[in-house]
């Protein structure tokens, strides 16, 4: 009998104990980022919610596939009404979340990105100090104000939890920052279970900042709804919105209803499935997206739409929907052409584009909405005056389309590894634009003045070369310039140099492998680097440690070239004859000026036409090549095939025995012209 009671008593006791533990744990608000804030499956098994009625749809309406392509974690159903006069959005959001984390989840953090645009928010504080892409914040203007407020939140089976919401600041502790809000649950969500949140929210959109908001009668709805964080590597990853960060979210399904005035032309992520005119002069459009991790939309009454372009992709047709500003309508074909060519190159090099649509928005001029990527939705950047040789629209459209791969499908953490989307994408951009527009002319080709994209990326890096490493959190960069120069420019230059080390074909194969292996996942930096090592079969740690994890700077130079006759001490009688028959001793000195160590080739040319290639491991600070020939050295050049893109100074990579004043004279001529003209202009108006 005693034993029977004991058998009954101990399980009951353990259930009560576990329940108390779980309750106590759940009551702890806002566990720090990085800590495993979930309850383990084993310990909480008997006290967690498991709502079996919920599910995430396995629709494929928006993709050219009969099966879902991602592991779908979220399903957002949003019904939003946009007030074009007040620039506000009032919406309800039903979020179904599938707990695939392997642990029970007792709280959920949400991003409220629009709260970044407030004077004391972390975003504005950082932008004021470190700079930002669009806004200087010399003074605060009311129109810059943005906000995102959750009016109410219910959790299926747990009731209204609005009162439990509280803002957290996991990155900097700035109590005035309201870009992340945390919701503790009454009952944790078991591994494999679903949970559904019903949220009512209100947005006040700012005049465009950080590619979101309104300008005149244009509106770009980006980062506009409460978005749940990503449970990644054992913890919630839900950073505050910083001036230099972008976003991170889980894949899923989006069903979004947008109610806007009837005069508006609308573009959005995904495919449009319905459009209904309402009696109050509004209309409601319904969009559906599969296997995407964000949803953006835009409206303007003045968009002109080009949607007859269809690209026959590897998985099926892709409709190209292009929304142009009226004054740019003549550039619609130009936009479609670069979009089509980008699709072709990415499909051919990296892998298929699975979505049925791509929407390209030419945003309002003078807005901070140009050059942004969202899944199946990108913004370009143009102007009414855009000569054919000025390739800004091509550059922006290609770059943002590239994000459909590096961010859209290979969904890296943009807060922590910004280089993995922006940098890898910049590398792709150089390759694609080189291929389409030419290596030396891919950015600019006007009246004989040229600039190539790879050179542009290199210069943006070399200006900030010794400030930050690539591998660091986006919000930890020294300045906005450093963030841009390192994240975009250095990564592109480092990968182009890597291409020179392992070979272009191998690099292409590695990139293809990386895309196919990690599409629709959240890879880490090591996933990428290891893929390259595996594909190339080389240990590249010596390079990655310096180029990715380190801030070493490379500057090799040919410091001297010199030749003199072996019998220099003898008196010359016939100098011409002597020149031909004399034996010369020649020297070439190569110097590594900075701390980046890398083996290099050196090409030495002689005046008899002979060319030699030397190899130097760069381990010591300098080396000297010595020759004894019936010829004098003409020139020496480090990296004669121009494979290295990270050398800080290309001018000193070569040295010639004889001076060639022509380049300098040409520039002097230009300079003289300008200064003479300046003198004349001054005299014209002043006397």
């Amino acid at each position: 009998m005693k034993i029977r009671w004991m058998i009954l008593f101990f399980p009951l006791l353990s259930v009560v104990a576990v329940s108390l533990l779980v309750k106590e744990h759940t009551a702890h608000a806002a566990p720090p980022q990085g800590a495993a804030a979930a309850v383990t499956a084993a310990s909480a098994a008997s006290a967690v919610s498991n709502n079996s009625a919920l599910t995430i749809p396995d629709t494929t309406l928006a993709i050219n596939s009969t099966q879902p392509m991602s592991q779908r974690v979220v399903h957002y159903e949003i019904d939003a009404k946009y007030d074009a006069g007040k620039h506000t959005v009032d919406a309800t959001e039903v979020l179904t979340y599938h707990n695939l984390t392997g642990v029970a989840l007792d709280h959920f953090p949400f991003h409220l990105y629009q709260n970044a645009f407030q004077p004391n928010a972390t975003w504005v504080r950082e932008a004021k100090i470190a700079g930002s892409r669009d806004t200087g914040y010399d003074k605060w203007e009311a129109k810059e104000y943005g906000s995102e407020e959750i009016k109410s939140i219910e959790v299926a089976g747990q009731g209204d939890l609005t009162s439990q919401l509280h803002y957290i600041q996991p990155d900097d502790g700035n109590k005035d920052d309201k870009t992340v809000i945390d919701l503790p649950l009454r009952t944790p969500i078991a591994p494999g279970a679903y949970v559904q949140f019903k949220i009512a929210f209100h947005d006040q959109m700012p005049e465009t900042q950080a590619r979101s908001g309104w300008k005149r009668d244009f509106m770009l709805g980006g980062q506009w709804f409460p978005k749940v964080g990503v449970f990644w590597h054992g913890a919630w990853n839900c950073h505050q919105y910083h001036a230099m960060t972008e976003f991170f979210a889980d894949f899923g399904v989006y069903d979004v209803k947008l109610t806007v005035p009837q005069f508006e032309v609308v573009g959005a992520s995904g495919v449009k499935v319905a459009e209904v005119n309402n009696p109050d002069n509004s209309k409601t459009l319904t969009f559906h997206g599969d296997d995407i991790h964000d949803f953006a939309w835009t409206v303007s009454p003045r968009f002109k739409v080009k949607e007859d372009g269809v690209y026959q992709g590897q998985m099926g047709p892709v409709q190209m929907r292009i929304l142009m500003q009226p004054a740019h309508w003549s550039q619609a074909d130009r936009h479609e052409k670069i979009l089509r060519e980008s699709l072709e190159h990415f499909e051919s090099w990296y892998g298929p584009y699975p979505y049925k649509t791509i929407t390209l928005v030419d945003p309002e001029p003078d807005s901070a909405a140009g050059g942004m990527e969202y899944p199946t939705f990108i913004t370009g950047d143009s102007s009414w005056f855009m000569p054919a040789g000025l390739h800004l629209p091509e550059l922006v459209v290609e770059h943002e389309f590239g994000h459909q791969y590096w961010y859209g499908m290979v969904a890296t953490n943009e807060f922590e590894d910004a280089w993995m989307d922006e940098g890898i994408n910049s590398y792709s951009e150089v390759k694609v634009l080189d291929s389409i527009l030419g290596k030396r002319t891919s950015m600019l080709d006007v009246a004989g003045v040229t600039l190539g994209e790879r050179e542009g990326q290199r210069l943006s890096y070399t200006s900030v070369a010794d400030v930050d490493p690539i591998a660091q959190k986006a919000y930890d960069y020294y300045s906005f310039n450093s963030y841009g120069g390192i994240t975009y420019g250095k990564t592109a230059s480092v990968l182009l140099t890597l291409e020179g080390i392992i070979g272009e074909d191998t690099m292409n194969k590695a990139m293809h492998t990386y895309f196919m292996k990690y599409r629709f996942t959240h890879p880490t930096k090591e996933d990428f680097l290891k893929t390259i090592e595996e594909v190339s079969g080389k240990d590249l740690r010596w390079y990655f440690n310096q180029a990715i994890y380190g801030s070493q700077v490379m500057d090799y130079r040919v410091s001297r070239v010199e030749s003199f006759p072996v019998n220099w001490y003898e008196e010359k009688k016939d100098s011409k004859k002597d020149d031909k028959n004399s034996v010369y001793r020649s020297f070439v000195w190569v110097h590594r000026r900075e701390d980046f160590v890398m083996p290099v080739e050196v090409e030495v040319k002689f005046d008899n036409g002979e060319t030699l290639r030397e190899h130097w491991d760069g381990a010591s600070r300098w080396t000297k090549f010595e020759y004894e020939k019936k010829a004098k050295v003409v020139s020496a050049e480090i990296d004669p095939d121009h494979k290295i893109q990270i050398d800080r100074n290309d001018f000193n990579n070569s040295n010639t025995a004889e001076a060639n004043p022509k380049p300098a004279r040409k520039l002097e001529t230009y300079f003289m012209f300008l200064s003479q003209w300046l003198g004349q202009a001054l005299a014209w108006w002043a006397v």
Binding site: P326, R440, E455, R458, P661, K666, S675, G679, A686
Partner: protein, 334 residues
């Protein structure tokens, strides 16, 4: 006579009814040497000003194979990298001398323009001595004129550009993307016309100072303003035409440079650029010729003509002849 003209010269010019443009151009054509010497000054000073820039870039580029991308075409990347080099130093260090020499050119223009105006007004080739005498005599007057002109033009330009910025900003709120550009073009044209009118005013004042030998600059400024105001259409038309000629010369020069000069031809670039700059001097001298013509036609003070009363001819009266008896008597008038 330095400041004034002989009566014959005045009358000759006063009766000259040629249109201002033709008359001004004719003065330029007959005094080509002034343009030549100003061009020489312009080149010389720019060459001196470019010295620091040249030294730096020769050091970086002369022994580098990378620099060749500047010869074969014009690679902006190479140029940006050049300017970013620490060896290049602060941009101001190498470009400031050019600015200083541009201002020196301005000062020398102030110095020599009185001689040019004197030469334009003369119907003969102005002797060198007279040219420099005019320069020296009017230097201080011209500096005072320039200061006043600077204050007036600076204030007007500041106000107009401020207005322009405000209007363009307001146009920027429009949903018509072209409107800010159109507004900018219109306002810049208006600013150009207003500034040209001011230039005419002070050009007439300069002509008056030199050709009337007017030591009181304020009087010339007053006269210049009155004449500019009364004949604005005629003068502005002439000045606008000459300014347009300057614009056309600049555009044509740049077109020829880009289209016909091979990127690697430094010699070709020098020839075309310098020829363009030489031609660019002509329109401003033309404007000065117009100012002188206008002065001679309309601003020369009327010459007071006093009625000429010839002194009575006094015929000495011969003493009555002594009556000689039995001599024939003189005939008597009827």
């Amino acid at each position: 006579m330095v400041g004034g003209l002989s009566e014959i010269e005045r009358r000759e010019f006063m009766s000259n009814n040629e249109v201002l443009l033709g008359s001004g151009l004719s003065r330029v054509r007959h005094n080509k040497r002034y343009i030549f010497w100003f061009y020489v000054l312009n080149v010389l000073l720019a060459w001196l000003g470019a010295g620091a820039f040249g030294n730096v870039i020769h050091q970086i580029l002369d022994h580098s194979l990378h620099a060749e991308s500047l010869v074969r075409g014009f690679d902006m990347g190479t140029l940006v990298e050049l300017f970013a080099r620490p060896e290049f130093g602060p941009t101001m260090a190498s470009t400031a001398p050019a600015m200083h020499f541009a201002f020196l050119f301005l000062f020398l223009t102030v110095l020599f323009v009185p001689g040019v105006l004197q030469g334009y007004a003369a119907t003969y080739r102005l002797p060198r001595d007279d040219f420099f005498r005019a320069c020296g005599r009017n230097l201080w007057r011209f500096i005072r004129l320039m200061i006043v002109a600077g204050i007036v033009m600076g204030a007007v330009a500041g106000a107009l550009f401020g207005l322009e910025a405000a209007l363009v900003k307001a146009a920027g709120e429009s949903t018509n993307e072209m409107l800010p550009f159109e507004m900018k073009v219109v306002t810049l044209i208006i600013i150009f016309l207003v500034m040209t009118a001011l230039r005419i005013w002070f050009d007439l004042a300069q002509a008056d100072v030199v050709l009337s030998d007017q030591p009181a600059v304020r009087r010339s400024i007053g006269r210049g303003f009155r004449h500019m105001w009364r004949n604005l259409g005629r003068l502005l038309g002439s000045y606008v035409v000459t300014a347009m000629v300057a614009g056309i010369i600049l555009l044509l020069g740049l077109c020829v440079w880009m289209k016909f000069v091979p990127p690697a031809s430094v010699f070709g670039a020098v020839v075309v650029s310098q020829f363009t700059l030489l031609l660019l001097l002509i329109p401003r001298f033309w404007q000065r010729g117009i100012a002188v013509s206008y002065y001679l036609q309309s601003m020369v003070e009327p010459i007071a003509v006093h009625p000429f009363t010839p002194a009575p001819v006094i015929t000495p009266i011969a003493p009555p002849a002594p009556v000689i008896p039995n001599s024939p008597a003189e005939p008597q008038g009827i």
